[in-house]
Symmetry: C2
Subunit: 221 residues, 2 copies
């Protein structure tokens, strides 16, 4: 439910040795995202990173497996892009906290400022696949699925609105806030889109069956 900020303590990073000089490595997007999470001030554990990602990046980018986060953190540290610190005995719980290094920040800035646009958005919408294959489904069932989707999306929208209200006016976290606004508007659009599709469905396929593809003999396969 936390939205913009991580809930971790605002400790300052550990001092670190420069690390071996490497040109900005080719990394999968997930690694950059994890490094991006670390680029905000403070150090944090893999577990915290996961929660934070689920509350923010999930709405427009990804929701990684926790095991994946740990794997990326290890890789980032091996590259010298992050440094880690074991909690001392003064802390109640044993854990490992990560912070970005100067090298990591430089590499990340290089990636973020890169000319290539990091690829087009990818959308995988199972509901639309079902609609596309609507001739296989009872029309009422299809409409019920769309309605469920609308209800679910409204729920997500409420979460984002709440997060936005909580974060309003926090000038320090401008960019996450802009991304969250986009997510809110996007979810509103998703609702509108589904409602328009529902209207199309009612209008074009009628209350009962219709819209079957032509000459699809039932014995043909």
């Amino acid at each position: 439910m936390a939205a913009l900020r991580p809930t971790s303590p605002q400790r300052s990073g550990s001092p670190q040795r420069p690390g071996p000089p490497q040109r900005p490595a080719e990394l999968p997007p997930t690694a950059w995202a994890v490094l991006g999470l670390l680029s905000f001030p403070g150090e944090r554990t893999g577990y915290e990173l996961k929660k934070w990602a689920d509350a923010s990046l999930r709405h427009f980018y990804w929701s990684p497996a926790i095991s994946q986060i740990y794997a990326e953190l290890r890789r980032l540290e091996a590259l010298g892009y992050a440094s880690s610190r074991r909690s001392g005995p003064e802390e109640p719980r044993a854990k490992r906290s990560y912070a970005i290094t100067a090298e990591g920040r430089a590499a990340l800035v290089g990636w973020a400022g890169g000319a290539e646009d990091a690829g087009p958005p990818v959308l995988k919408h199972p509901l639309l696949l079902r609609v596309w294959l609507g001739h296989l489904t009872a029309p009422e069932h299809l409409r019920a699925l769309v309605s469920e989707h609308i209800a679910h999306t409204r729920g997500e929208l409420k979460e984002v609105h709440d997060a936005l209200a909580r974060a309003d006016g926090d000038e320090a976290w401008t960019h996450p806030q802009i991304a969250l606004r986009w997510s809110g508007r996007r979810l509103e659009a998703e609702v509108d889109l589904a409602e328009a599709m529902l209207a199309d469905l009612t209008e074009m396929t009628g209350p009962s069956a219709s819209g079957q593809p032509p000459e699809d003999s039932p014995t043909d396969g």
Copy 2:
């Protein structure tokens, strides 16, 4: 550029033996999507399937590698969900055409009518990740990336509009048409969303740098 219909010949499927009785297998979504492609009348090759998917499913679901398509077709045939036919010598080019079987159709209908909603939509939007990480980028560069995205999306939108215009009034392919309409509206919303974000970016981060996260000492990592 073909949109609703495949361009393949409308041949009727080959006769086939019932195949071993198996309960509807657990299949990855890609397999169902390929089987769904085959659920429209006519038989077609893997190559044709790939082109068709790129022209339709790509807008809301997926754009698979051609090698993946061939692999799924083999799996589907092994399951008895599809049957294939080698082209005879009368045809100019050697190829293998696939058709859905009765068993495959039954399994697909079971999947499509299933209670589970096949999972929530997944969105992976690299541009938003960049915006979220906007404190690492020069504001003008960020805005340029968003503008590029708008231009690119308008291009996609034109494709969909054209396809829609070509397909208008074709009552036989109602559901693919509804999905395509959704895609068109979605792309329009994507443009609106990006324009709103551009306004936010201009308003909240100013023409030059600002919106840095707090106390992020450059030596801290």
